[in-house]
Amino acid sequence: MDEMMKKATRAALLFSACCLLVWAAVPEWRTVAAGLVLGLAASVSNTFLLRRRVDWIGKVTAMQGPRKMSLGLAGRLATVLLAVMIAKKYPEQFSMPATLSACFIMPFVTLAYAYFLNKRNS
């Protein structure tokens, strides 16, 4: 999981750098690029929250800990809602569709990396 997370985070950072370049170079696409960066930040933070929670569930299961566990969906939901509400409050700076679509990039990037890693290893 660590290798996959590192590669996915690196890809997200690369994509945000490209978006920042677009933001600086193309004024017409400024809102879209800013929205993508905002959504990506929320997506990366969500992925780290989920990874921490999955690690915790594994530890609790291995150590026979408490039976009540949660995946922390509310925290991740609140992160995405925060990003979307920022985009809604400042529509002249952030594009709402770009923010919303970028909020869900990381799960698919992780899935793609896992597929390729699995194919390489088998």
């Binding site: 995946l71 809604k88 899935l111």
Partner: protein, 70 residues
């Protein structure tokens, strides 16, 4: 009508994701209990599965909020 749309989006999305996440976590916990040496692989699979499953309710909640507040 907007309230009904928001409620349907949030409720149906949460229902499906709840069932899906419950199945994923229960099977992973079962697998870790049976074969603790495969914990890393099972956790990775669970991480990917939960990430993909949670996209649907999050989109539902966001669309519900947008339909409700605008």
């Amino acid at each position: 009508m907007e309230v009904l749309a928001a409620a349907l989006a949030v409720g149906l999305g949460a229902l499906g994701a709840g069932i899906g996440n419950g199945l994923i976590v229960s099977k992973t916990v079962e697998g870790i209990s049976r074969q603790p040496e495969l914990q890393g692989k099972l956790q990775t699979t669970m991480f990917i599965g939960v990430g993909i499953v949670e996209v649907v309710p999050i989109i539902g909640v966001v669309i519900g909020f947008l339909a409700f507040f605008s």
